[in-house]
Symmetry: C3
Subunit: 397 residues, 3 copies
């Protein structure tokens, strides 16, 4: 990253670089500084007070789409807004929570839930999924049984490097780059290099992540993108539209609803979450798209990604009443959110060789109006082709 | 809360409101700004360095009584001073400790003790009392056994909203309002709305708390006010004077001292704490008062509250030598500080319906001089009336 | 500590004193302010961003030797440089990590490793060594089994007092004093008073620590100085030169290498650490010196200390490849880094009476050039005298 340079027709600003002692608490750039013929803005600020004290956020606004990145919480995206429509959900945990107030080990590994309120939150990198016992190799080369905590550590690690970048040629990209390290002496040393970008006026946010194993030894890595949506995309009669290969409920409770796994009900008091493990169909390049649309098909969001990078897709239905979090999760991942030991048995935990990089790419879009959504439906239908979805009525194994 | 308005004959100043991105690091108001014909002051500051780094405190001084509120530690009261007399105690933990340095789970759930030094500290809201196993319902609707940590979380959660308020008419109240959330996705969602006030020249601090269950489902709540006093109120021969219905030692160790449960000894090397569970008598409105007075009956403190709100009273005798914390706790609560699972069995854990609010009120006073204390004694004797205290020599059950 | 005074021919500056609400975020003094006829400097700054956010560091430069003290991490020394030669090591954990991001309890008591990257880090004070179960006395006077975490708490506690001091007479000492409390209500109350000093142009840093038991009861205390060195002092063929009484490997793995325990290999992929427990010989005053020299004997470091204060010496060989931390630890201590319960059995855990102080002193030097190193070798040989080292081939007991 370069500080404040204009190389390659881009304006760059380093906001954080711990190793170079660079940190910018407050910063702003907009069309007033850099005229790109559109109303846009990037704002860096630090929150103060309450559980948000010390959280760094970056607001990006491309003129149509605005969203808030959170360097302090592993470069997740808190929430967004597209042409006035809210993107994200309303968690009982309203405010951003600084990792210093989170004890991942609390409640037998459920502490992650004390800070869970983002639109897009990464689960990983050492592990994701439910808490569970696992075995590590300790400093003496011996096996040691430890507890892996819910959804891992990455969402509660602040970025060591953060940079804003504005492209000076069409389509005028607005990018925030970040580097987050999940590492320990005698432990994993995984580097997340992430780039979140949009272009002026666009309906899309693109996340490109490179996860590198910095160790001298091979090491496991897991990543799952927990993309969460509430109203107006989630309402009674909303549907998941995606090219389906196979669906399976994760447990008996979810099996109860498998016939309507792709249809969402109204907020329901006491609703217990249902989770579906899904294999999607990809196009000839391995890319696929899952869309959540409201009943009228006037408001929709989609998540596109490569099945070669993120082969497994989890659908989380939590249509409880609003104060409990009326929310649906679209979750592409390297596996399903079971405890890691189980995923390893199922061969769904990638191993990275020394210095090997695992690349993922995620395109998050908003679609307003019947025409746009109809177009997306056709695109998804084309990927589905003649493949007949297999719907398992009961959990696999 | 309104920012900086003069509605209803009060001056108001929002010092923190996380949801509105308001945070005031340093602020002061006094009779120089707002002439009320008395020497008074409210000061907001943030501590830096050591374990206090980042702790927000608010010093309130009504001209006679001053005390320090701690928004960062759940709106507790660190210590006070009335006409030059110190109120509080000297914990081995001298300085205020920021919650980021506290791991409640440490030492098998005893981490709370690393930050325990307040005059008034709330224990709760999900639980209080000794650490113990309990069962929660997890995101899958399954029972999960977890550890509840000593005295719960509320004292280590920063307030999300803080406001100072100065009444512009007699008796010129000085109030600090705060809101603290103890909440998690799939967990409890309890809101503490607290108001701590005094009036110019007064010997009294009044705490009014409203605890609301924001969940859509019924949920349990526990609150205990751990009000702690050392010298000069606690000295050899100090006494607890209160209208007693029934007393019981909490264990065999406490049973040894039950005959003199209401009399306090000098600092004693190696003294192991004694705890008494007490039912007090209330007046016709259900209100009661417990007073701690020195032997001469020249310096006393009292705690008044409603038995309808806080039916159980715990007396904590820890008359160890000063460097170990020579201290007595007067602790009105919704139950006794046993592990929550036991209290539930005894039917001493209130349940709040969705959106239900539990209100408590606590009046903390200082009494100097024989006349004032004599007056308090008479008031307490009147509540006692003809009721004969029942003193159990051994623990109940 | 006095603020800004010139008493006793020294310039003093209090940088932190929590009890007096003193905290200086940024400060610098150098030969430009105080002409001592040499190029020297002391700089205080606070780091921002990433995992280093909020870490206070003090850079001391005596003109030849510079090093970085870390008040926020228990007054450890992060790294240094002597005449352009780097002192310390390259941990996979590159940056300084603020204690608020460390959960010592994580990974069954291995959380300390998430922040381990210092040249000199204290292990203690309540315990050091591997994690293990131990028994404490709780507030009820009962025994309670808890987990002691790896290497204890002191390296993750910020100093409550920090002061810089510049002597105004020869040899012009540059000193940083600090006070760190490891304490809890009903728990240990150990005060570390530490003084780290050098003199203008010197090749030496001197650490003087006083650890006081502030409790009214006797209490245990453990301290080990984990002094860690990588290249250029550690390279293939580097050697430990020290007056040896007896050596024993800590386990079977270490036993494999006991014949060459004092010779260091090149970085080796997958090298599992080897640890040797060593009794050194002392001079007539009980002082001893251990030196790590490169093969050519042109670059060396030494650690000198009193065996009356620090009777046990541990050698940690971790000659893994650089990205895993190619490092050797020279570790004088009050015992060996076994779990505390075991050390207690071996009578290697000191007990301090009430108010008793345990004093330790450590002299860390850098030696450049064959002459200097030859001189050190002779000094060490003289201490060795005619004593024949006893090398145990297998672990003791």
């Amino acid at each position: 990253m370069n500080n404040h340079t204009l190389g390659e027709k881009a304006f760059r600003k380093v906001l954080t670089d711990v190793s170079r002692s660079i940190y910018v608490e407050k910063w702003e750039i907009s069309n007033e500084n850099l005229e790109l013929g559109h109303d846009w803005q990037i704002t860096k600020r630090r929150l103060s007070g309450g559980l948000s004290d010390g959280v760094d956020v970056i607001d990006v606004n491309n003129g149509a789409f605005s969203y808030t990145l959170v360097p302090t919480r592993g470069m997740g995206i808190w929430k967004g807004s597209y042409k006035g429509t809210y993107i994200g959900w309303n968690s009982p945990v309203n405010d951003l929570v600084h990792p210093k107030f989170i004890n991942l080990e609390a409640h037998e590994g459920l502490g992650w839930l004390d800070g869970f309120n983002e639109w897009v939150v990464r689960c990983g990198l050492g592990n994701f999924g439910g808490p569970g016992r696992d075995v590590i190799i300790d400093n003496n080369g011996n096996q040691k049984e430890i507890m892996l905590t819910l959804h891992g550590k990455i969402a509660n690690i602040p970025a060591s490097q953060v940079e804003a970048k504005v492209d000076l040629k069409e389509p005028f990209g607005l990018t925030v780059n970040g580097v987050v390290y999940e590492r320990s002496m005698f432990g994993s040393n995984l580097k997340l290099k992430t780039s979140t970008s949009t272009t002026l006026g666009s309906n899309t946010v693109r996340i490109v992540d490179e996860i590198t194993n910095l160790r001298a030894a091979s090491d496991e890595m897991q990543i799952l993108y927990h993309c969460n949506y509430g109203p107006p995309f989630l309402t009674e009669g909303s549907r998941l539209i995606a090219p389906i290969m196979e669906v399976a409920p994760n447990n008996q409770r979810s099996a109860e609803g498998v016939k309507e796994y792709d249809i969402f009900g109204p907020p329901q008091d006491g609703f217990v979450e249902q989770v579906y493990f899904i294999r999607l169909v990809g196009d000839t390049n391995g890319w696929t798209t899952a869309m959540l649309t409201n009943k009228d098909e006037t408001q929709a969001v989609s998540v596109s990604f490569s099945l070669r990078q993120l082969p497994y897709f989890t659908l989380w239905k939590n249509t409880n009443i609003p104060e409990e979090g009326y929310v649906v999760g679209l979750e592409p991942g390297t596996g399903y959110p079971n405890p890691k030991a189980y995923e390893r048995q199922m061969n769904r935990v990638p191993t990275l060789k020394p210095k090997e990089t695992y690349r993922t790419e995620l395109v998050l879009s908003v679609h307003l109006g019947k025409d746009e959504i109809q177009e997306m439906k056709e695109k998804i239908a084309k990927i589905q082709g003649k493949i007949k979805p297999k719907i398992n009525q009961t959990p696999l194994r």
